[in-house]
Structure formats: structure tokens, C-alpha cells
């Protein structure tokens, strides 16, 4: 790696130049992967709905970047960036959205709904808030076994209204399990603005009810998200329990690709487009003299090449055979009964 010309200030948060470029790689990979998915959706190659994270990639990448091998993150639909940081393959995301039999969920579920506990991610289910108790249980297992591992669970502003969120936060807090809870406040739950979701001014205020520390950070700035996440992860790893982080960001696309966003003022979207987390990050890296433009370009080229390959592979793969639907409802029996009118 060529040494940067002249740093105007030290790189914050103990990050190295290589780390900055790695974060940039995951940011670019997340955005480009989602752009590819939009193209595939428009060609009807994505099955069903497509959920994107345009403008929110920064917090997903920066928060997961604070984790270490052995830690486990539970994403929501807009946390593809977190999964990629933990080692999820773009090819697997493509397979998931294209309902391929080769995908990790074998065509049984879509999007980020897949799991690899070795790499460290536990995909969510659609019932918002449910992953908070489940991740509390995963973090409880770390505590019971005396492992210095940490769980991180993403919820949205909408999920923070659910009973499961409350029960999970409360149980995790009272058991002091090593869990970081991130509320990604992107302004809307589908079409409902946060002002109709909750009467608190800041979602971080909810932490008071659970007796856990909390902070609110700018979700479109990599550095404060990374620093807050690192502090929370460190607390958890030291046995000091749960931290709540509210990251403030904005959902620049609809809830899903079909959504016409009639409920979002145009000026609002334009305002947040000027606060794009990747643009801000790149601008700062270059302006501060922390990385060379050429190194960023090399990352862009790498991402393009990787995604070209992944899309070509995924497109060529078959859907699952219909009768594979019967396996693995239970461990025993391993196959559900095939109904007589489907016996050939």
C-alpha cells in the first residue's frame, strides 16, 4: 500500500489506512450489490420483494466492523452491510433474492433471512422485534459459558414499538448479557414516520426504562457509528451488559422496490441525498489525506469484478426442486409426509 501524500490530521478511532479501505470496500460492495439486485428485480429475476438500504449502508458496515471473529450479529433487511462485514458472500445474497436452490436458505426464504453462526450472523424473521429476545438468548449462552463473545442486534424505529423488543431488552438488561442493540432510525417504518411511531424525541431515551446506557449518533457518518459501536462492544465484552445505540439515518428508497414513496417529501429525500454516508466518507478520506484516490478506484474495480462473477454464477443456477420442500421441518422425522395426491 502506497503511503498517503500528507495527512492533514490523524486517522480517528484507532483505524489504520488498510482498515479505512476495508470499510470502503464493504460500503461499496453493499451499495453495488443492491444496485445489481435492483437491475435483476427489473428483469423479474428477483422473486418477490426487494428491500434496499440506500443511504443507510454506513451504519451497517461501521457497526459490524466493531465486532470480532466469534461475535454474532442479527441484521434486519437493511443491514446487508453488516452481513457482508461478517463474511456473507454477495453470491449468497443474490441466490437468496433469486430463490435459488443453491442459496443458503435453499429457496425457502428470501433476502437476509439466512444464518451462518460460524461466520457470525443470524438472519432475522419478518416479525419485527423477535430477534431481540433471540439475540438475548445467544448472548446469554456466551455469558453462561464464560465466553468473551458479543451479540449485536439491529432493529428499526418501527421494531422498537413491539412487545418483543421490550421483553428482549428488559431480559437482556436484567441478565446483563453481552448484547449491543442498535435502533436504526431511518425516519419511516414502511410509510409511518417515526413521529407516529413513538412519542419520545429520541429513541435512545427508551434505554432509561431498561436501566442501560444509550447514545444517539449520526448514522451517516462512519466514524461516530464505529466509535459508539466499539465502546458498546467493549462494555459487553467486559461483562458490563447491554448498550442501546440509536443511529439516525434516512431511508432514501421505499420500504421495498415497489413502493412509490408518496409519503416522503421530495426536499427531504434531496436533503439526505446530500448527506450520503459513502460520499461523505470518501470526501473525508481524500480531503484529510488518509487514502489515495487510486486506492479507492482499485476497490471499486475489485467490487465490480466480484459482482460480475457472482451475478453470472447466480443467474446460471437452478431453482430448488419442488419436492425438496418436504425436508427438515424436524430433525426426526427428516421428511414431512408426501401427500398421496402428489405421489407419482
Amino acid at each position: 500500500m502506497a503511503a498517503p501524500a500528507a495527512r492533514r490530521s490523524p486517522i480517528p478511532a484507532g483505524l489504520s489506512e488498510d482498515a479505512l479501505l476495508e470499510i470502503y470496500y464493504y460500503l461499496r460492495l453493499t451499495r453495488s450489490l443492491e444496485e445489481r439486485l435492483v437491475n435483476l428485480y427489473r428483469q423479474s429475476k428477483v422473486i418477490g420483494g426487494l428491500y434496499g438500504s440506500l443511504g443507510q449502508e454506513g451504519q451497517s458496515v461501521a457497526s459490524a466492523y466493531a465486532l470480532e471473529p466469534g461475535d454474532i450479529v442479527s441484521p434486519l433487511i437493511r443491514n446487508v452491510g453488516s452481513m457482508l462485514v461478517m463474511g456473507a458472500m454477495p453470491l449468497d445474497l443474490l441466490r437468496q433474492y433469486m430463490a435459488k436452490g443453491t442459496g443458503p436458505a435453499r429457496g425457502r426464504d428470501s433476502g437476509v433471512h439466512f444464518v451462518d453462526l460460524e461466520r457470525g450472523y443470524l438472519g432475522n424473521i419478518s416479525h419485527l422485534g423477535d430477534m431481540v429476545p433471540v439475540m438475548a438468548g445467544i448472548a446469554l449462552s456466551f455469558k453462561l459459558r464464560g465466553e468473551r463473545r458479543v451479540g449485536l442486534v439491529h432493529v428499526g424505529d418501527g421494531a422498537s414499538s413491539t412487545g418483543a423488543f421490550h421483553e428482549g431488552m428488559n431480559l437482556a438488561a436484567v441478565q446483563r448479557v453481552p448484547l449491543v442493540v442498535i435502533i436504526e432510525n431511518n425516519g419511516y417504518a414502511y410509510s409511518t414516520p417515526t413521529s407516529r411511531q413513538t412519542a419520545v424525541k429520541r429513541l435512545a431515551e427508551k434505554a432509561k426504562a431498561y436501566g442501560v446506557p444509550a447514545e444517539t449518533v449520526d448514522g451517516n457518518d462512519i466514524f461516530p457509528v464505529y466509535e459508539a459501536s466499539t465502546r458498546a462492544v467493549e462494555r459487553a465484552r467486559l461483562g458490563e451488559g447491554v448498550t442501546l445505540i440509536e443511529v439516525v439515518t434516512y431511508r432514501r428508497k421505499g420500504h421495498a422496490e415497489h413502493d412509490d414513496q408518496r409519503y416522503q417529501p421530495k426536499e427531504e429525500r434531496e436533503h439526505w441525498a446530500r448527506l450520503d454516508p459513502i460520499d461523505r466518507y470518501v470526501w473525508r478520506l481524500v480531503a484529510e489525506g488518509w487514502v489515495e484516490q487510486a486506492n479507492l478506484k482499485a476497490v471499486d474495480d475489485r467490487v465490480t469484478a466480484e459482482l460480475d462473477t457472482a451475478v453470472a454464477v447466480a443467474e446460471g443456477e437452478p431453482p430448488p426442486g419442488g419436492d425438496t420442500a418436504l425436508s427438515d421441518v424436524l430433525a426426526d422425522p427428516p421428511e414431512a409426509e408426501r401427500l398421496w395426491h402428489r405421489r407419482r
Partner: protein, 326 residues
């Protein structure tokens, strides 16, 4: 062989599994120093400590969700619902999360949710329910309903060792009312998915589970004495997987079937069993498949009301006689 109650048998099974396997831990409301509302876990906290006997907030969804997370990581949680009526607060977590986890993701969720079910105890609408039908409908959950002390012990041990999520529905009416001599020092396991012939007979089969096994046995005895007819009683023990083979074997022997359960009628387990017999053994039937169940009302509190609503031995005798007349 000492005589132990159904409750003590359950306690022993739980205790032995916690001794045998350090991955097993229990969580629930008031299960620690207090020992649980029915004292199933009395003394456990002294032996196993607060990290394996976890008192939780009143949060059934979180209890089940946290158990699922811990189970994913290789632990073997046993979650107690203080009364099984409260399992409805965790319905989403069980049906959407736990039941689908293996199918969706390939990740195992070896956990048990147990709790006192059932009526005949004047518990009223919220401390008397039989919750099985709601979960029977959901692929991905196993359900066991012990009727005897031996199976109370054998099924809790089997449930804890099972690699699938298991709902273990003990019956609070039976807790201290029935006793049985159980062998000591022997690993007593009841296989999940296998029914038991509680009484052999040739003229009529009663298919049932949980507390109504005992009412069916009383009815069978009364019919033997007063009518001279021979009634077979099948104790299902497991509802998922349901032991079709045992049911059909009995049907083919007696050619008449009465299905009895304590739960309400509409959408109950009896309807599914009747449909399976219809599909698998129609030609062997010499009469209609009849049901004796609770009436389709919430379970009321007053003894006169509860006794009227729930199936009683006399109801089973009446139905059996009607069927024997064919």
C-alpha cells in the same frame, strides 16, 4: 421401587438431565428460590445455581426467544410457562421463530417449553387451558402430553434430549393425584411419537391423551362390569408426531373408535385423528367415529360450570354405549 407422584417423576427427570448434561438449564418465572408455582423446580437453584436456574421477568415471548437463541448455540434450555395458558403470549415466537428455524436456516433449536396445563381444578378461564391445538397445527414443533408418572419422567428426559423443539404439556390435575412405582437408577426414557395401550380391549377403542386417559380407563372399567364389553384405551402420549400406526392397529382390532380430549371440540385434535382414520382405515369401521370433548366455550370457574363443560367419565360411558350398539 419407591412410589412417586407424577410431579415428582417430572422433577426427577428434569433433575437427572441437569445432572447428566451441563448444557441443560431452566428458565422461567419464580422457578428459583420459590421453586415454581407448583414446586416442580424446588431445590434446583441450591443444586445447580442461578446461572442454570434463571428467574426471568414476566415475559413469555422473551423466555421462549432467549431459549431459542441459547439452543442455537448448543445449550439445552427448558423454559417453564408458569401456567401453560400464558404460552399464548409466546405464540408468535414459537410458531414463527422456533417452529420455522430448522426449515428456513438448517439451525437446530433443541429446547423444551413446559408448563401445567388442563382443568378439573377450578382454575377458571386462564389457569385451566389445554393449548395443544394451536401448536398441533404448526409444522416444526413436537408435542407430548404425559398421562402417567412413568411418562412424565420418560417424556421430559426424551424431550430434553430431542434435537427438535418440544412442547411438554404436563397436567396439573395429575401432579399429586397419581402415583406409580418407578425403577431407580435406570435411565427411564419414553420414546417421542409412540402411543401406549393403556388397557387392552376388543370391542371399542378409546383414543385419548393426558388426564382424560384416566377418565377413559374408569369408563372402560364401568363398561366391562356393567355391559360386559371390552374397551381398549390408547394413550397417545405424543401428539406430534402422532402415532398413526398404533391408532390404526387398534381400529382394525375393534372396528369402533371414540376419541376423547379435554380441549374444546372445534378445531381440536380429535377432528384430525378422525380424518386420519377415515383416510387410512375407513373399510375397518363398523360405526361412526365419535368424539367426547369439552364444550365450545371458555372454561368457566364455578365447579358446577366447569364440571358441565369438561368431559366426564359418564360422558365417555354414554358415547361408548352409543357406539357399541352399532
Amino acid at each position: 421401587m419407591p412410589e412417586v407422584t407424577y410431579l415428582e417423576a417430572l422433577r426427577q427427570g428434569l433433575w437427572e438431565e441437569m445432572e447428566r448434561d451441563e448444557r441443560v438449564f431452566i428458565l422461567g418465572e419464580d422457578i428459583g428460590i420459590y421453586g415454581g408455582a407448583f414446586k416442580v423446580t424446588e431445590g434446583f437453584i441450591d443444586r445447580f445455581g442461578p446461572s442454570r436456574v434463571i428467574d426471568t421477568p414476566i415475559s413469555e415471548a422473551a423466555i421462549v426467544g432467549a431459549a431459542a437463541g441459547a439452543a442455537h448455540m448448543g445449550l439445552r434450555p427448558v423454559a417453564e410457562m408458569q401456567f401453560i395458558d400464558f404460552i399464548s403470549c409466546a405464540y408468535d415466537m414459537l410458531t414463527n421463530y422456533v417452529a420455522t428455524a430448522r426449515y428456513r436456516t438448517g439451525v437446530a433449536t433443541p429446547m423444551v417449553v413446559r408448563g401445567p396445563s388442563g382443568g378439573y381444578v377450578r382454575g377458571g378461564p386462564f389457569h385451566s387451558q389445554m393449548p395443544e391445538a394451536a401448536f398441533f397445527h404448526t409444522p416444526g414443533l413436537k408435542i407430548v402430553c404425559p398421562a402417567t408418572a412413568r411418562d412424565a419422567k420418560g417424556l421430559i428426559k426424551a424431550a430434553i434430549r430431542d434435537d427438535d423443539p418440544v412442547l411438554y404439556l404436563e397436567h396439573k390435575f395429575l401432579y399429586r393425584r397419581i402415583k406409580e412405582h418407578l425403577p431407580e437408577g435406570e435411565d427411564l426414557l419414553t420414546p417421542i411419537g409412540k402411543a401406549r395401550v393403556a388397557r387392552e380391549g376388543t370391542d371399542l377403542s378409546i383414543v385419548t391423551y393426558s388426564a382424560t386417559v384416566w377418565k377413559a380407563l374408569e369408563a372402560a372399567e364401568e363398561i366391562a362390569v356393567k355391559d360386559g364389553a371390552s374397551v381398549e384405551v390408547i394413550d397417545l402420549r405424543s401428539l406430534v408426531p402422532l402415532d398413526d400406526a398404533a391408532i390404526m392397529e387398534s381400529v382394525k382390532k375393534t372396528n369402533k373408535v371414540l376419541i376423547v380430549h379435554e380441549d374444546t371440540r372445534t378445531g381440536g385434535i380429535a377432528g384430525e385423528i378422525a380424518a386420519r382414520i377415515n383416510e387410512q382405515a375407513f373399510e375397518w369401521l363398523d360405526g361412526p367415529i365419535l368424539r367426547v370433548t369439552a364444550h365450545d366455550v371458555p372454561l368457566p370457574y364455578a365447579p358446577t360450570l366447569e364440571d358441565f363443560v369438561l368431559p366426564q367419565t359418564a360422558d365417555i360411558v354414554t358415547a361408548a354405549r352409543r357406539l357399541l350398539a352399532y
